[in-house]
């Protein structure tokens, strides 16, 4: 681009393309259209070649993730199965005390839901926002066979006093619309009170914000550690003679080819209190037998194991960039009077930045979403947000909550990516 000004031929080329707007082919068709037509076939063929992959990604990646994310703000577990009381909520304002019509609608919906065996689903939905509500719904459902007689308020209260709770009615009002931000509120430790105002949850129940912070902090730390450990290795790989560097490369890649579970469990063998590292330390007399270090089933274990596992993701991009840096740059700097440290800091290191950026971004994004390793060696203090997402997916079955947490995670990674692009420029990324 910039060579244009220097190149005498460029001026001719520019003039020619300036006239190009009016150019036509030999038989009088506009040149631009003729060019597009002649390339259309090649373009169509290229599209057909990528079509299978495109379809695969669409079906296995984009659509499921889209559906999953939809659950984070759309949950019709209550509104679909409780149509009449939902209609009453829709026609009245927030803060309206339930009148007899409301109780009648509730009784009718509960009866219908109990017969359709969907009352558990309804209870589960309310239970997300008000713990204990599920058993209220199911136990009421069991005593509802045969329907209720008016007055419905007294009849329901007779089955369970819990129906008079204003908090319950507030929560049901929230749930009566399928679209809700409540899962996102819960994901940042917020909830709504009876009047629908947003407030912090009980201090003892605040867990997600802390987990997000811990996830980001640990990911940052692990990224830093992989950089400190990976940079010299990558440099060695890039500068050693081919035969030695190939051997070293295999050593770097070997863990890459080993099963993640094998690697994680071998850390258990090494780091546990009766493990190899502790045994050696005791044998050397560094620590007493009763002072064995707790290095696993806590944050330390998560940090050590994840640093090890993610190290190749830092080494490989760094290596691929370093390999292209001609050694004569450092030599030139040295001959110009720079000490080896200055030559490294001002000449070599800046040229490794594309690889460092790629490696850091890769390691950080992988670490933020890491699940298996913290689950196995993290204990309770080494759990990350992904473990919480998994818990909501598999044990509490609160998929909407899992989706909200995942969406927040995704959004924050995207923000980071955007920030990186602004600060470093994504063009400067070099993955290999």
């Amino acid at each position: 681009m910039a060579n244009v000004a220097l190149d005498p031929h460029a001026a001719i080329a520019t003039t020619a393309s300036g006239v190009g707007a009016a150019l036509t082919t030999a038989d009088g068709k506009p040149l631009a259209r003729a060019l597009a037509r002649s390339q259309r076939r090649a373009r169509r063929r290229a599209f057909f070649l990528v079509l299978p992959l495109l379809a695969f990604i669409l079906i296995t990646f984009v659509i499921p993730i889209g559906q999953m994310l939809q659950r984070s703000f759309y949950n019709d577990g209550f509104s679909r199965n409780m149509p009449e009381v939902s209609a009453w909520f829709a026609s009245t304002e927030r803060g309206t005390d339930p009148d007899e019509a409301a109780w009648a609608a509730l009784a009718a919906d509960l009866t219908a839901a109990a017969e359709a065996r969907t009352i558990g689903m309804v209870g589960t939905r309310i239970n997300y926002d008000l713990s204990g509500a599920r058993s209220l719904f199911t136990s009421t459902g069991r005593s509802l066979r045969g329907g209720l007689e008016p007055p419905y308020r007294e009849a329901l209260l007779e089955i369970n006093e819990g129906w008079d709770n204003p908090m319950l009615w507030s929560v049901m009002r929230e749930a009566s619309r399928p679209y809700t931000a409540n899962f996102y509120l819960a994901a940042v430790d917020r909830t709504r009170d009876e009047d629908g105002r947003i407030q912090q949850v009980d201090e003892r129940q605040q867990v997600y914000v802390m987990l997000f912070m811990r996830t980001f902090w640990l990911s940052l730390l692990i990224t830093g550690l992989t950089f400190l450990l990976g940079f010299p290795i990558a440099h060695l790989l890039a500068t050693l003679p081919m035969r030695k560097s190939n051997l070293l490369m295999i050593l770097v890649l070997l863990p890459f080819w080993t099963s993640l579970l094998v690697r994680t469990t071998s850390w258990m063998v090494l780091l546990q209190q009766q493990g190899v590292v502790n045994d050696v330390l005791v044998w050397l007399g560094v620590i007493g037998n009763d002072q064995r270090l707790q290095m696993i089933y806590n944050q330390t274990g998560t940090i050590i194991a994840m640093t090890h596992i993610l190290l190749p993701f830092m080494v490989l991009p760094l290596y691929s960039v370093m390999r292209t840096i001609n050694p004569s740059y450092v030599r030139a700097a040295r001959s110009l009077g720079a000490t080896s440290w200055t030559a490294f800091r001002r000449i070599y290191f800046p040229q490794t930045l594309p690889g460092l950026g790629a490696g850091a971004l890769l390691v950080f994004i992988l670490a933020v979403g890491y699940y298996i390793t913290p689950a196995l060696v993290g204990g309770s203090s080494g759990q990350l947000i992904s473990n919480m997402i998994a818990m909501h997916m598999t044990s509490t079955l609160n998929w909407s909550m899992a989706a909200a947490l995942a969406a927040l995670l995704l959004a924050s990674v995207l923000v980071l990516y955007w920030l990186y692009d602004r600060l470093v420029g994504i063009d400067n990324l070099k993955l290999g």
Partner: protein
């Protein structure tokens, strides 16, 4: 060996040896003195040890044995950044993440120079290579010739007394290369710096150098000014490496004063000047430059021996005519004739007799 003009040795290699693997010597017993202000070229085929010598002088390789001195001071233990030697690399090695100005500023910054002095020196150095307008460009935005000039300016900006150049013009096209040869030569003359220049291009070496050291097999084969090197090669390698050359193998038959009679393997006796040949009966290779071969008797000294030659082809090359002859059993004997109006035209198949001044035919070691 040292030229008188240059006084005491500014750079000296003394019995320098270099081995990379501990089994073979890349540089074998190098002795070389370079005078202050001299333009010395290390010329040789790849693998001859010339670049290794340059790297040892710059400090990027250590001498396995021997001593290197700069301005009388041994520098074997001095790290490269303290040697104060400017260097131009084959690929220019301009720092890609810095502008031209920053590239030139770098050697001044690491020397702790103030901003105003830096700017003045950068401007002066850029003007010297006519690149003043490019101070804010990045190396990637420059053409090869422009990068070459910037590399030159960067190596000179901190006023080094010695500048090393490692095949600096290798990546340029022919026309630009010839232009840059003169520019570097003129800069050298104007600044009075000492230049050690490495190349494998003999034309470049002949054009630019005060003296040329021809390297082969880890040794200096000959160290001489360009004219002496071309006209009086001291061994067969130098004769064949510098310029075009006819080599005729034979045996010394007789010494006549400072001449020798050589009986060629392919038959015939010729005159030659013995160079590194001592005894009768010794095998030799006689080396004759194509432009010194004559076929008209009036151009030869009286009593010169001549031999028969058959013209195989004549190639018209514009300024010269190049005839390929069959001489003494060899089909690759070349004779060059100036393309003048009166020049006799030879035809293929014609038989002529060729001869030369005895000092132009040099009896060297057998190949």
């Amino acid at each position: 060996m040292l030229d008188d003009r240059h006084g005491d040795a500014f750079v000296a290699f003394e019995h320098v040896q270099k081995s990379y693997d501990g089994q073979t010597l890349v540089v074998k017993d190098l002795n070389l003195s370079i005078g202050k202000g001299e333009f010395l070229t290390m010329l040789g085929p790849s693998g001859s040890g010339k670049t290794t010598c340059l790297m040892m002088l710059a400090g990027f390789e250590t001498a396995t044995h021997g001593e290197i001195r700069l301005a009388g001071r041994p520098i074997n233990q001095v790290p490269p950044h303290k040697r104060g030697i400017g260097m131009v690399f084959q690929n220019y090695a301009l720092f890609p993440h810095m502008t031209v100005g920053e590239n030139l500023s770098f050697p001044l910054e690491v020397r702790g120079m103030g901003k105003s002095e830096r700017e003045a020196r950068i401007k002066r150095a850029l003007d010297m290579v006519q690149m003043g307008a490019f101070i804010n460009r990045r190396p990637a935005q420059l053409s090869g010739g422009q990068q070459q000039r910037i590399a030159l300016a960067r190596a000179l900006v901190f006023d080094p007394e010695l500048v090393l150049m490692d095949e600096p013009l290798g990546a340029l096209d022919k026309q630009l290369r010839e232009h840059m040869q003169f520019e570097i030569k003129h800069l050298h003359e104007r600044l009075g710096i000492t230049v050690v220049y490495v190349t494998h291009d003999q034309g470049e070496a002949l054009t630019m150098s005060d003296r040329i050291a021809v390297f082969n097999d880890g040794r200096i084969q000959q160290l001489a000014p360009p004219a002496a090197l071309y006209e009086r090669p001291e061994n067969s390698f130098v004769a064949s490496f510098i310029g075009e050359n006819n080599a005729l193998p034979g045996v010394i038959e007789e010494f006549e004063g400072d001449k020798a009679l050589v009986r060629l393997d392919g038959g015939g006796v010729i005159d030659a000047t013995p160079v590194n040949i001592r005894e009768k009966g010794q095998r030799t290779t006689v080396s004759i430059r194509p432009e010194r071969v004559e076929f008209k008797p009036e151009m030869m000294p009286p009593g010169a021996h001549t031999i028969e030659a058959k013209v195989l082809e004549v190639i018209y090359m514009g300024d010269i005519l190049r005839a390929r002859l069959a001489v003494a059993g060899s089909d690759n004997f070349v004779m060059k004739m100036r393309n003048t109006i009166g020049q006799t035209r030879l035809d293929p198949g014609q038989t002529i007799r060729i001869g030369w001044h005895p000092q132009d035919a040099r009896a060297l070691d057998p190949v």
